[in-house]
Symmetry: C3
Subunit: 641 residues, 3 copies
């Protein structure tokens, strides 16, 4: 440290008072080196040798020099104390001092400012100092292990006080600390054995934070990839996706875990798998530890189209366990193809108290006023007057590429699969399919991929089935042939099961012609469909509906109902299901009606005993609904009943 | 060892026969030290030096002395053997011997009795001997690791024979052993690297057991805390709780794992969380290993109000796996807010064959004759003519404080929360609430805590949700604000869900006036309530009932039924449900009626097809039931249907 | 290596062309030793000393010798190069060379062929070379750990490149490699620290494979045990079982994991537990690692009598995770008491693409044409015109003994238990029971064991419950008394639950007399039996049926049905259920009828709303079914509805 920059580093105590005009004489700590001194500055010194041509003085254990006899006006003995001024640092490293004779001065104590080694530059065997932010504090049965993040990477630092006892208990998560120690190879990975650890003082911490912040911001900068397909509507969302990519990369750089919740259907998996893979790659590069991705990112399918209490409860408990057992920060929650609506608000409100940042990428109709204040990021085409045709999978492939552009070639077929799975009617679907065709996927196979994803998700239930799903989607899968066979197998089984369901249910569909001239089909799925199997009622209703739309080529509404729920689909009729639910709830007393959806797709719950009233009422409303050829039901949300 | 106490330690072989009157000459093992000899005793010796004034003799490698020439009547050469008597141990440590000249004697072999180091006094690097009881024998892929418990603590001792091969196969769980070895630091914790290990012989083992037993008993002594609230009724239970605290502390000292099963409702969690925390603290202090609590105590919620076969089967399998995989002793089973009734007997009977001690703390109406012989401890207010008003949570807070009195300040609000959750009508509730108010909890918040616990338990299902539950209860939680927010969130959601359920079900309640003038309400919850959600039928019936009690202010009975079950609640009418169940079972042939409960609360199961007969019969019986203003239904048991 | 066998080992480069007739001069690698040379061969040499009586030459760093001056025709200086012929290796180890003077020759480079140490002969501290096949490649956070299998055993070899970075990335699973390194003791087990690792070249690999193959084949040879009971019918199956034992042992020798799926009933557990134990023992002996069995074999109960999609999906995902996370080979799938029918084909077809070998041991009626091509082994009595009377448990006890004959004494009671559980009517049951009686099991207790297994399986659901099940079956259980108590407990509870079910359901059985004079009983189990408990509908129907068979002593059919399923049992009537299902499926449009079974036992699924039609139609068919006194329903497949 030179005196010039002493203020920057916190290695020096401040002068007594700002207005003190007396000259400063530095009192160096014993381990100060040449780096801590500066020509022209004054130092406390002690004589360590007397020679003919002058005296040698020490200004620290490491720094000595000569006061030439021409500068002396008295004699000195070894051990005498004096103050000196550093005249020159010669090219050969020798220091020349003069005696500093003023008797009025102020002393400033200077600590040695060690050379800091960037974490990315550590290598085994070295004694080093590092400075960084505490990302995790894990108490083991032996040492306390701190994960430290600096501008260049993240490393573990093990400090031992007593077996199982917290070392440096005053140091908290998020503090910026300076650590001295020896770099060792621990189970292959590098780890710092801690000799010293200090929290920076407030001023220095603020400065370090600023520095780290700047560095993180810069390193978090996402890649500037061109979208796979030119699409003006999509352009509106790119800045939001870029900001989210930045936020996620920064989350990784700070060592915070990430928990991904996604809708367990085709589009939801096309969205979440690429993002997971991109984040895993980035985590591994930052942590330099092959196990880090496993500890820091978890993907979880959600059966319901909103953030259910059961999931919230489990996520929160898991997060708290991660903190209490592994000393991790609470996770970043990333909701994909899910999470944009009012139903999610109470959960978000609670998480807000817990330092759990939340981001949503969704293409379901949002309640932006309700969720906006609670989210750290919200990407949704409806916020820009676009709609579900931009599927979450399409958005997330771009998001994944912004996080890790090397994935591009692996992901080129994914937007098409996502779009087909969610039946996007976007004109750009043709471009996406063309792109997928370049990779060897024709339309049929893309549809099969979506069907296979749906089918696998159904049987995997709460398991993320990572390896299987990666093989189905052919992302992070190393064997094309295996992917093909697996998709064939699952899609064929799915189709067989759908056929079986259609064979059972279709003959029992009831038909009536509404006043509006629309065809209305209703089916009691509890009576006429196989239960607790694939396809579940939501998808079963969708398949029945599609057949009828194809058959008639005109306006069709389908209602598939069970004991206490109904699934609705419409093509060519504007239903406005949220409004219908509201009305039913008022009209049918004791019906317990709730539900959600959009203009042409939705689901409703009620109590079993009021089913007839609810369905009748519903049909009355539908009879009055106006026709609209433009409207078509997209992929229906899966309602597990 | 001196000859005087030789018999105590087992370090000495017994004389040949009890009647042998010949003098004893000791033959010391080479490593015997001064501690093993005693003035006046005779020893086998060998000459190791001849000097003018006598001969030097060795009686072991470590113990030598002089036979003065005045005692000699012949000459000796180095290597000559003789028998000597120890005349004196001088202040400077020199030993003076005389020759022992009798030719008829019996030889007794003496082993060196090493200095034993108490386990709590071990430190790394030392070579030591320890003596203790084997609490666990875990075969790893490398060494066999024994956990050894002595009067002062528990430590691991690693013995290596061959990779993955059991070392010292003749040594079993519960043996008392003496181990020699080097104390090493292993992953931070201390561990003994075993050089020698011997099982004490029968006599010594019996003595050691007595010594350990005494020490364990003493150390297991619970703390003498004053109850949080003065309450004569509660006084009757204090000795039982104290005995149980003693038993649990002793269980920990012996290194046995503990498995807690508790009713998954508010009171059950108010009971189990403090006990778990107290035991964790005590385990950590005994084991000196931060990981020990995780391996040695497990809390598990039970949905049913008795010990279900599914839980028994899983617990037993888990216990056997712990033994076969980790060499653990079978666990101690602690049933909280659960376990006092006849329904639990078959499970207990089986566990009795397995060395699984069982203790119960419960405030449900017990069948003491049925369970008493099978339990190692049974604490229940009904055993002292008290009743459910002393809730399990109230008892267990005192139990936890007896185990770890330092928890007191953290637990002062818990009895009030438990009492409100189970609607205790005890007069002392006022005192408990006052106590909680001192800690900043008003009645409203305490009710919210109970509701939040119930709600969290519902969604956590079989997960103990430790971190989340601790935050809700604010026990072992370090952030008051977070606790408040979490309780608000969960209680608000719970209320919303209850409201929704009431809106659906209340309009369908059927009312009739019984001959007794009591109001009877019945509701088909399968038809008129939301299913598979919160609140479940038991709680739904309770909430419906409470509203009607409030409305009428006089005798009310409520029956909430599903396809094959009914939940009963009464205020002001004496139902005696166990008797009704018995009668129904006889009267309704092929009804498959079973169930349980008390005077004013209960649940009944039957086969679906006989529901009408069962309910009609039930209502007939209720019509005849006598009114009793004193009787009021407490918290109803949760019947998941 | 001698030149004679150089071609075998790959340690030598091939001559330039096969037709080259010029003499060969070997150019030895510096580390070649005496083992690499051979009298009469020619070598490139360099002079390292000149003496009166000749010159000393080096042909490698390790191999030197004399060219006697009588063989020299010019003078040499140190460092001169020449070619020499090895005349003789003297008894004292000295080598005598002549100068080789032809100027036309071809040079063949020779690598030193290290001495290979067999894996079973490794001991810590040695520097060794091993050669074997790569069975697993696990990337840890530190080194890459390869599991290497040779003729004698399997060992881990740790290679470090960079923390968490794959070492030797060109080496794949199944390659044959040569590894040089130091044997170290790692967490007790031996592990090779890799210095060098090379994949053998194609020719050498092919030869090594052949050698390993031969050795594996030989070591895989099953034990030649005599069957426990003489039984001509069983003789036909012994060769198939022997082949499977061979295949399984070979699978273990190659280090591939094994996944056992078995029917979760008494016979299925009597089959799978012994095989699991035998394989665990063999794995442990091959791997010399106590943890290996836990990582390499997993037993999983299947509720359905075929390989359900949910199980397939999970197994496949698990297998892929094992590969991607632990670098394991995909597992061998062993289906026991399950897996012989057409329903299993699609799953098998998919697994075929995944290098998952599949073997089946089953005694259910097979569809051999359908499954045969997809299986690596298929053992089924029906393939030899025998039938279900040879139960899977009987076959698997012999299989287990072929794998590990030391188990014999532990397994002598198992075939009887299996046979009684599945009600085998084989004449040899008497012999099996006699055998069990010798071990102290009477008929009653064997029946109890079967009942207890069924009951435990019911409550354990998807858990294998290994410790509990082993105690029930008394296989791998060390406490006879505990086994007895446990069986008593579980069997008593099972009987109590069966009684309760009978009490509820029996009064509601409906009776009619068919035209064929057979008695037909039907029961609506959804209405008249307890649901979601033990016994489930399949077993409930069986128990009801058995009572009626006993009562009437003549032809009886029983149908137990729920909302969307029916379970069928017949004694004395030939039903041919597969044909009936086929017909119903055609006749009842929109019935969604599917199902399976044999002549006298089966189950049918349909949609709820068509139940009446399906059951009526079924009863019509039964009325026409011919009587056949010989036919009796065996243990019914458990249909969880």
């Amino acid at each position: 440290m030179t005196a010039d920059n002493a203020g920057d580093s916190g290695g020096e105590s401040a002068p007594n008072s700002e207005g003190d005009s007396r000259p400063v004489v530095y009192d160096l700590a014993p381990n100060c080196t040449l780096e801590d001194v500066s020509e022209g500055d004054r130092y406390h010194a002690v004589v360590n040798g007397v020679v003919e041509y002058g005296i040698f003085v020490d200004i620290s254990d490491e720094v000595s020099g000569l006061v030439h006899e021409s500068n002396l006006d008295r004699s000195y003995e070894v051990g005498d104390r004096l103050t000196v001024a550093l005249e020159a640092i010669k090219e050969n490293g020798d220091l020349a001092f003069d005696v500093f004779r003023e008797s009025s001065y102020q002393t400033v104590v200077v600590d040695h400012e060690p050379d800091l080694t960037p974490i990315a530059g550590l290598s085994a065997g070295e004694e080093v100092h590092i400075e960084g932010q505490v990302a995790q504090i894990k108490q083991t049965g032996g040492p306390t292990v701190f994960r430290i993040a600096d501008e260049t990477g993240i490393v573990s630092a093990a400090a031992f006080r007593e077996a199982g006892v917290r070392a440096f208990p005053s140091i908290d998560l998020d503090d910026v600390v300076r650590i001295g120690g020896t770099v060792e190879s621990h189970e292959g990975a590098l780890q710092l054995e801690v000799d010293s650890m200090t929290r920076l003082d407030d001023e220095a911490m603020a400065e370090a934070r600023e520095r780290l912040d700047e560095a993180f911001e810069q390193r978090a900068e996402p890649d500037d990839v061109d979208p796979l397909v030119e699409w003006p509507a999509f352009e509106k969302l790119r800045d939001d996706l870029r900001d989210l990519a930045h936020l996620l990369r920064r989350t990784v750089l700070e060592g915070r875990p990430i928990r991904v919740r996604h809708h367990a259907d085709g589009d939801g998996m096309c969205a979440s798998v690429p993002v997971q893979l991109a984040l895993e790659n980035f985590i591994e590069s930052v942590h330099d530890d092959a196990d880090a991705p496993r500890h820091l990112i978890k993907r979880l399918p959600s059966k319901a189209p909103f953030y259910e209490m059961e999931d919230v409860t489990r996520d929160l408990n898991f997060a708290l366990e991660g903190r209490s057992r592994h000393g991790q920060r609470l996770p970043f929650l990333l909701m994909l193809d899910n999470g944009s609506t009012e139903e999610d608000v109470p959960a978000y409100e609670n998480l807000a108290h817990y330092d759990v940042p939340i981001a949503v990428v969704d293409h379901h109709h949002p309640d932006p006023e309700a969720v906006e204040d609670l989210l750290d990021a919200h990407v949704n085409p409806y916020l820009y007057d676009e709609d579900y045709r931009i599927t979450t999978g399409m958005m997330c492939v771009e998001l994944a590429r912004m996080i890790d552009p090397d994935l591009t070639s692996e992901l080129r077929h994914v937007p098409a699969a996502a779009g087909l799975a969610d039946r996007s009617k976007a004109d750009e679907m043709a471009d996406f399919i063309a792109l997928a065709e370049e990779e060897g996927y024709d339309r049929e196979r893309l549809l099969d991929v979506g069907e296979a994803l749906d089918y696998a998700a159904h049987w995997l239930r709460y398991n993320d089935g990572q390896s299987l799903v990666n093989d189905v989607l052919n992302v992070g899968c190393d064997d094309e042939e295996r992917h093909r066979e697996l998709v064939d197998f699952l899609a064929t089984r799915a189709e067989r099961d759908v056929e079986r369901q259609m064979d059972a249910a279709a003959p029992h569909l009831e038909h009536e012609r509404l006043d509006s001239d629309a065809h209305l089909y209703t089916a009691d799925l509890d009576e006429w469909a196989h239960r607790f199997t694939y396809p579940a009622p939501g998808k079963t209703t969708g398949k029945l509906h599609d057949r009828k739309v194809e058959e008639h080529g005109e306006a069709v509404i389908t209602i598939g109902y069970g004991p206490d729920f109904a699934v609705l689909r419409s093509d060519g009729v504007r239903l406005d299901i949220p409004r219908m639910v509201e009305e039913l709830n008022e009209e049918v007393v004791g019906g317990g009606v709730s539900g959600g959806g959009h203009l042409v797709v939705g689901s409703i719950k009620f109590v079993k005993g009021m089913r007839a009233e609810v369905i009748d009422s519903l049909v009355d409303k539908m009879a009055d609904a106006e026709l609209d050829e433009e409207l078509s039901s997209q992929a229906i949300v899966d309602t597990e009943a």
